[in-house]
């Protein structure tokens, strides 16, 4: 160990012992640290429980930030239930505008997928919300497509058949989310969290829209854009609201196969 020239070493045994002590003690500390950190990480990895509030942050990289910080200037919070018809209507009317607001960097959107209609929908609300969080863990872009796809084929409240988990996994796959998503959907990792989310975030109805934490009454997409512009000023590319999406036309008899 020492940088002395080698010579006949009377203390060889001593050194061997002290080397063993060093290696032993170091290994003990390393193992202890790994186990401790591993334990903390793995216990955090458990299911988020009811009462937790977790959002899905969707923001472009050029989102306008508060000066001197990395916080977006406008956080648009959307509390939605995948089964609620008004949320479907909101998505249809405002969805393209919200997308535009996100893509131009005017806002960062926080989606809270709540589940308040489990009774009416035989648990579909929480399963769909869970699936959305699972997809968002994988990729935010996939979440945006998944979110749009679920509303485009939204089942009616009280209809007899709701998309099952296999169907949700398939939609997630089409949205570009694979990996651990099927497992996450089947295990219902976020189901409980979604069920408690409405209460935990103190919302009375869906959809609830909040701008920087303040409840916002929606009227028209143009009014929403105007409201955002009041805060962030003019944003390149954000001239006005986007035209609403085409109605999914539930009245049409046979829906074309996706």
């Amino acid at each position: 160990m020492a940088t002395k020239p080698k010579r006949y070493d009377l203390k060889a045994a001593d050194r061997k012992r002290s080397l063993a002590i060093q290696i032993g003690l170091t290994s003990i500390v390393v193992i202890f640290a790994v186990v401790l950190v591993g334990y903390i990480v793995l216990s955090n990895d458990k299911k988020p429980t009811s009462g937790e509030v977790k959002s899905i942050r969707v923001a472009s990289s050029n989102v306008i930030k508060n000066e001197g910080s990395s916080d977006p200037k406008v956080v648009l919070s959307l509390y939605e239930d995948f089964l609620c018809p008004h949320c479907g209507l909101f998505e249809q009317q405002f969805g393209p505008t919200v997308s535009k607001l996100i893509d131009t960097g005017a806002v960062a959107a926080d989606y809270y997928m709540v589940a308040i209609l489990d009774k009416q929908g035989n648990g579909y609300s929480s399963r769909a919300a869970n699936a959305a969080y699972c997809v968002a863990d994988e990729s935010t872009d996939a979440f945006r497509r998944f979110h749009a796809a679920l509303y485009a084929q939204q089942p009616a409240e009280g209809s007899a058949v709701y998309p099952d988990n296999a169907r949700l996994i398939e939609i997630a796959r089409q949205a570009g989310a694979g990996g651990g998503v099927p497992d996450c959907i089947n295990k219902g990792r976020y189901t409980e969290m979604a069920q408690g989310l409405a209460e935990a975030s103190k919302i009375q109805a869906t959809p609830t829209i909040r701008i920087n934490g303040q409840d916002y009454e929606t009227s028209t997409p143009d009014a929403l854009v105007a409201k955002i512009k009041e805060i962030v000023g003019n944003v390149p590319g954000l001239d006005g609201a986007a035209p609403p999406a085409q109605a999914p036309a539930p009245a049409q008899a046979p829906a074309p196969a996706p």
Binding site: Q22, A33, V37, G180
Partner: protein
């Protein structure tokens, strides 16, 4: 610092200015050489990849493996040009010096103490710089670049080896003695801490791979 001994360059008489010329063990010399070669290779590769990106912005570097292990996203950040020019250029210059030092030490050329002190100072600056880069990479950029990590990995032990050589006069100091005795344990613990930080920081991603 003037050498008062007569300019006796005979290799058979190293004891004449032994206080100024530092002997280096072969193991240390090999360490220095390996660290220099690995660091130089990483710095060279990063520079070449940087040039490729400049030529073609769509170029995907060879080390962009997945969202976390990706040097493309790291190399285009401002932190990758901390002093206004790409960091690997610093690496090319400094690791070249390390390689030369390693070769000299390995061939039993006894370099003066001030040289080792200078190299230790430079390596200390390097250690400080890579820790800043580690912090930026983990908590500001949110991606790891494999070649950069190779540089992190060699710089820390390199500093320990070079500092051990340069600080030999402190042998009688108790604190220095203890630090010296436990230096590799400290390095192991340091690396463990870094690895755990990387694991925890990107656990969301690693856990999807399991």
């Amino acid at each position: 610092m003037t050498v008062t001994a007569p300019s006796d360059v005979q290799p058979s008489e190293p004891a004449a200015d032994a206080s100024n010329r530092v002997p280096v063990r072969t193991a240390s010399a090999v360490w220095i050489l390996i660290a220099g070669v690995v660091g130089l290779a990483a710095a060279l590769t990063l520079t070449v990849e940087k040039i490729e990106i400049l030529i073609n912005p769509d170029y995907v570097p060879s080390c962009s493996i997945n969202p976390v292990l990706s040097c493309g996203s790291v190399m285009v950040t401002p932190q990758a040009s901390a002093f206004g020019f790409p960091n690997p250029l610093i690496g090319i210059v400094s690791f070249t010096i390390v390689v030369v030092t390693g070769v000299l030490a390995l061939t039993k050329v006894r370099l003066p103490r001030w040289y080792w002190a200078g190299l230790a100072t430079g390596t200390l600056l390097g250690v400080a710089f890579i820790h800043w880069l580690i912090f930026q990479s983990l908590y500001r950029i949110g991606a790891l670049c494999p070649y950069c990590m190779a540089v992190w990995a060699v710089t820390i032990p390199l500093f320990v080896v070079v500092a051990s050589i340069a600080l030999q006069p402190l042998q009688s100091n108790v604190v220095a003695r203890v630090l010296y005795t436990w230096r590799w344990s400290l390095v192991v613990l340091w690396f463990t801490a870094l690895v755990l930080m990387i694991l925890v920081r990107f656990w969301d991603y690693w856990s999807t791979l399991i």
